[in-house]
């Protein structure tokens, strides 16, 4: 009997401002996960400048790949496939990962697996524990706020999403008003711990009979509150402002997520995306589940796996590869790639 060779996927991620390359074993075990972050550069501009992001990626991509291979202790002969994020994201940034992944795959005659970045965020949870279908995923990141229903492995249906700003985007924009450096999510999270929800900002769409979100009204209410106070020469408590903003976001997210879990009868809830790092969101969801649906299994990746990284792409690639996903050498970046909406899936 020969021992079964493990499946090893070399995964590239470059959709925004992190260049990351990972080696993932059997879709569940991180052998390496090298992440090069451009935050130091992009915070000069208060947000990600696409051309600057693309330039940094070119300088990082082979370095990250080499380190990923070395840390994992693997050679090309050990690899099963090469995977890459091909969307959604910044087109120029995506193209660096796509070009590099194609070159490695072609040079070593390995299959190329195209991965949706948002599938990556969800499958970060598989690096924590097995997923049980059907499940619900609350995807909250810099560019997305979606409730995704999964009937089975690799099957995604959007049942609700944001009509305007994404949750992470709202954190970052509100952070700018509070003079917090980009990206502000973590800083608002920390600041909120020192304050209280005293401003009672609106909870948009919380009662609507759908699973959609809207955060631009909250953002405007926040900005108005701060500006009006400034004009009166009044000083508002920053921690209270942060806590009030965050409470509004979390309230809506949790109310709709719990409702969706019950309506769809899922046994597991995955929290994913950069905003999943938010400590108040994590604990509020945990207690909502305790109170309303104690049998619901809650999975949330560790913070390092919530923001963009190659390991989550490798984990998703494992699932998509088993479903037959293969890219040809003409694979292009698709900046507006999206899961299908539930009604499209039914039709």
């Amino acid at each position: 009997m020969t021992e079964k060779k493990p499946e090893l996927i070399l995964a590239f991620e470059s959709s925004c401002d992190e260049t990351s390359v990972a080696v993932v074993e059997d879709g569940v075990k991180i052998r390496s996960n090298v992440i090069a972050s451009q935050i130091n550069s992009q915070k000069r501009f208060g947000g990600v400048v696409p051309e600057v992001a693309s330039r940094h990626h070119v300088e990082q991509v082979t370095l990250c790949a080499e380190e990923a291979m070395t840390q994992a202790g693997v050679t090309y002969g050990d690899l099963t496939a090469v995977a890459v994020t091909y969307g959604p994201g910044l087109v120029g940034a995506l193209l660096i990962g796509v070009s590099a992944a194609k070159a490695v795959a072609f040079a070593h005659q390995l299959p190329l697996i195209p991965v949706n970045h948002m599938a990556g965020h969800i499958y970060a949870a598989r690096l924590v524990k097995p997923l049980v279908y059907p499940l619900m995923a609350l995807l909250v990141s810099g560019g997305h706020t979606e409730l995704v229903y999964m009937r089975g492995a690799g099957e995604f249906e959007i049942i609700g999403d944001t009509r305007d700003d994404a949750a992470g985007e709202a954190f970052d924009k509100v952070g700018r008003v509070l003079n917090l450096a980009y990206p502000a999510g973590k800083k608002i999270d920390d600041l909120s711990k020192l304050g209280q929800d005293t401003f009672n900002f609106p909870r948009a769409m919380i009662k609507d009979a759908n699973y959609d979100f809207s955060f631009s009204g909250l953002k405007s209410a926040f900005i108005n509150k701060v500006h009006n106070a400034e004009q009166r020469g009044e000083k508002l408590s920053k921690p209270d402002l942060a806590a009030s903003f965050q409470a509004s976001v979390i309230d809506v997210l949790i109310t709709k997520t719990m409702r969706a879990c019950q309506a769809y009868g899922v046994g597991q809830l995955v929290l994913a995306g950069g905003v999943a790092a938010n400590s108040a969101l994590r604990s509020a969801l945990t207690s909502a589940i305790d109170q309303e649906d104690p049998n619901l299994d809650f999975v949330v990746p560790p913070i390092r796996l919530c923001s963009d990284n190659g390991a989550m792409i490798g984990a998703a690639a494992h699932v998509m590869m088993a479903r037959g996903a293969r890219a040809d050498l003409d694979l292009n970046a698709d900046p507006s790639l999206s899961f299908a909406y539930a009604e499209e899936v039914l039709n």
């Binding site: 915070k43 193209l95 003409d330």
Partner: protein
């Protein structure tokens, strides 16, 4: 020496496999399709029709810019990844030089031109000397008007080359008259076999990881930032492993 040469600096894409002085194959595609879609299939087809494998390549030669930012990034990323992953040599050649190499008969100066929009160009001046293409006036991003004024001080005939020259032609003739000559037809397209030949005699890069395009322009965001923050305090290193 087996060389794979790649040029996606502008609208046309060209790839070639060259062994020593022999062109084994060359593909040039000149349609509006993204290089990301066209490049790797063209490379794969070249290997297939020549019955060669990527591992047989000794040196990857790439047109390193200037040109379309996205275009030069695709070529540079592809070439550096090949060189890194196969442990082979990597050479970067000016995209302007690669185009200038199409002109082999000129005794004067060869002026490759890429349109950089807003009446500006990526350009430079080249000359053949003892069988070698040398840069006489360095590659630059420049307003076309001041470039033509500088060229007018030259005495040699000026051979303009490039697909984009046509758009500047009235301006060029107005300023330079008979001194300006124009290349016709397919010579205005890049041919990666020429790039490969230039790359054979060049020095391979010492650090493949750090290899990046020659954009010849800082980004607008960074230029504005540096105007307001000349010392760039506290922001280096820009990229950190986390």
């Amino acid at each position: 020496m087996l060389v794979l040469a790649i040029d996606t600096s502008n609208r046309a894409m060209s790839v070639a496999l060259v062994r020593d002085q022999t062109v084994l194959g060359e593909t040039t595609i000149n349609v509006r399709k993204t290089h990301s879609e066209s490049l790797m299939p063209a490379v794969a087809q070249l290997f297939k029709s020549t019955s060669l494998l990527p591992a047989a390549v000794d040196r990857f030669v790439v047109a390193q810019g200037p040109g379309s930012y996205t275009g030069i990034r695709i070529a540079v990323t592809t070439a550096k990844t090949f060189a890194w992953t196969l442990h082979k040599e990597l050479v970067g050649i000016s995209s302007l030089a690669a185009l200038a190499a199409n002109v082999t008969t000129s005794a004067g100066l060869i002026i490759p031109v890429f349109n950089a929009r807003r009446d500006a160009a990526f350009t430079g001046a080249y000359r053949w000397q003892n069988g070698e293409l040398v840069s006489v006036l360095a590659d630059r991003h420049t307003p076309m008007a001041s470039w033509l004024a500088e060229l007018a001080t030259q005495t040699a005939p000026l051979q303009f080359i490039g697909d984009d020259v046509e758009s500047f032609r009235p301006q060029i003739t107005a300023k330079l008259g008979q001194q300006a000559q124009f290349v016709s037809g397919i010579d205005n397209l890049p041919h990666a076999s020429k790039l490969a030949l230039l790359g054979q005699t060049a020095q391979p890069v010492a650090n493949i990881h750090r290899f990046a395009p020659n954009y010849l322009r800082i980004t607008e965001a960074e230029a504005n930032w540096l105007k307001q923050h000349p010392t760039n305090e506290g922001h280096e290193p820009y990229v950190e492993e986390i």
